[in-house]
């Protein structure tokens, strides 16, 4: 019988930033409540069931081709998993409406972590989703956000979106993502090029990786320089961008789904890290707290990133901001920084100190603990 549950319609663990996030948030929850139940997506080699000390991990493994059906099936499955713990459950921590709805029906306190909103983000991957369908999804988001005892957001940008959906402003709490310090002597990855600019993350259109490729095409004269793309998705999913890279004749080294523990070394030995996010509604209205930027900073590597409110929140003046969606401007910024290696190193050092002083995962967990304190006191 568990006192706490964490539910996420995400595969866990995985190479994605969301998995890093779940890892730390769930650890705080389970440490506090002497274990608990983790309901996540499975697949691949992941076991359907694990017990790790006081933590039980159950994974949804049904093959349901339609995404909406899959989400609803997950919800029903999660409701069944929670049912035996109804009498003891004090708190449920969720990341999406499909975890939140079954959690609400248990009567436990609800902490809703709004890293993103499906009604904003789904149309990017599912362009045929009708406005009326998105309205239904939004309806679910509203219900969950209104009833949540606390709403945790990673960025100030998303606050407006969640209060606009009925979250009480005094229940919305900012818990930015973070990154753990990278040891100064982390060894260079054996296959790393001599000099490289790095991109780490997924490849959805709003990540702006195509802008980075176009910028790199303008740096063709820098024959000493390679672009390393550490993709959190498989080679097949990178196909359109790989094709674009070939067409542009850009020197790219693709690294796919490398274990998270190895990413820090890739970041630490890069000349620069780039976060070329686009200026679409996903980044402007919903926001995010890009783990790649936090991790680059923690590795002491200078960051060049799109000038967007979400990035300013993370990077402050500890990096170089460029107008989004402008390959020429991005190329120029990269070129200038590479020409001043001392300034570049200094920028990276400052970013590292900034993270160490207030934005490690330990800090994020302490902020989350404050939220749990408040929820319990209510």
């Amino acid at each position: 019988m568990h006192r706490a549950a964490y539910l996420a319609f995400d595969r866990f663990p995985s190479a994605k930033g969301s998995a890093v996030h779940i890892r730390h948030m769930a650890a705080e929850l389970f440490d506090r409540y002497g274990g608990g139940l983790l309901c996540v997506l499975g697949g691949g080699e992941l076991p359907a069931y694990q017990r790790e000390g006081g933590v039980e991990i159950v994974r949804f493994t049904d093959v349901v081709p339609n995404l909406l059906d899959r989400a609803e099936a997950f919800s029903r499955w999660a409701a069944d998993r929670l049912a035996p713990h109804r009498d003891t459950l004090e708190i449920c921590h969720v990341r999406d409406p499909w975890g939140a709805l079954p959690a609400l029906s248990t009567g436990a306190r609800l902490v809703y972590e709004a890293n993103g909103l499906p009604s904003i983000e789904l149309p990017y991957a599912w362009p045929l989703a009708a406005p009326s369908t998105l309205a239904k999804i939004r309806e679910r988001e509203e219900r969950c956000l209104q009833e949540a005892d606390a709403v945790v957001v990673p960025s100030r940008v998303i606050v407006k979106a969640v209060t606009g959906r009925g979250a009480a402003p005094d229940r919305v709490h900012l818990v930015p993502n973070g990154a753990d310090p990278v040891p100064a002597d982390v060894p260079r990855p054996p296959t790393a090029p001599d000099r490289y600019v790095i991109y780490v993350g997924a490849l959805q259109p709003w990540q702006g990786v195509d802008v980075l490729l176009r910028a790199f095409a303008r740096l063709a004269d820098r024959t000493d320089l390679t672009l390393v793309v550490c993709s959190s998705v498989s080679p097949a999913r990178a196909r359109p961008l790989r094709r674009l890279g070939e067409r542009l004749g850009v020197r790219i080294q693709w690294e796919h789904q490398i274990p998270h523990a190895d990413v820090a070394a890739w970041l630490a030995h890069a000349d620069l890290s780039v976060a070329p996010l686009t200026a679409g509604p996903r980044n402007l209205d919903q926001g995010c707290s890009p783990i790649k930027v936090w991790e680059s900073m923690a590795a002491g590597t200078a960051v060049v990133a799109s000038d967007l409110p979400v990035i300013r929140e993370v990077l402050g003046d500890h990096g170089r901001l460029v107008p989004p969606d402008r390959p020429a401007e991005l190329a120029r910024a990269i070129r200038v920084l590479l020409e001043y290696p001392d300034a570049c190193r200094e920028l990276g050092e400052r970013a590292r100190r900034h993270v160490e002083a207030g934005f490690t995962w330990k800090h994020a967990r302490a902020r989350l603990a404050d939220v749990y304190d408040r929820v319990e006191a209510h």
Partner: protein
């Protein structure tokens, strides 16, 4: 020595590897003393039995539950409108923006 083949870990997963003391009667995998669950089974098979009576019944039960697609599955459903076939059509695998995105089972609704 036969190493225990149960997967362990929270964020970084691996095989347990301790000395196995039994084979799971349901799936045959080697299990150590720490991982031996009800009925001498591995934790996964034991959990499936608790849930469905017998591991073999698990898949069938899940298929049944899936077909049972009515709106009243949790709490006060009906509070909001259900999804219909028109809603669902946009989320068929063939409707994704990038077909290439579908091959590694990436389900996330939002990304960090």
């Amino acid at each position: 020595m036969t190493p225990c083949a149960v997967t362990t870990g929270f964020f970084t997963l691996g095989k347990c590897g301790q000395m196995a003391v039994a084979g799971c009667p349901a799936c045959g995998r080697a299990v150590c003393a720490d991982h031996l669950a009800d009925g001498g089974m591995c934790p996964e098979c034991a959990a499936a039995r608790r849930q469905f009576g017998h591991p073999a019944a698990a898949a069938a039960a899940r298929r049944r539950a899936y077909r049972h697609r009515q709106a009243q599955y949790y709490g006060d459903a009906g509070y909001y409108s259900g999804f219909d076939d028109y809603d669902r059509a946009a989320f068929e695998p063939g409707a994704a923006a990038h077909q290439d995105y579908l091959d590694d089972g990436d389900d996330a609704l939002v990304d960090s």
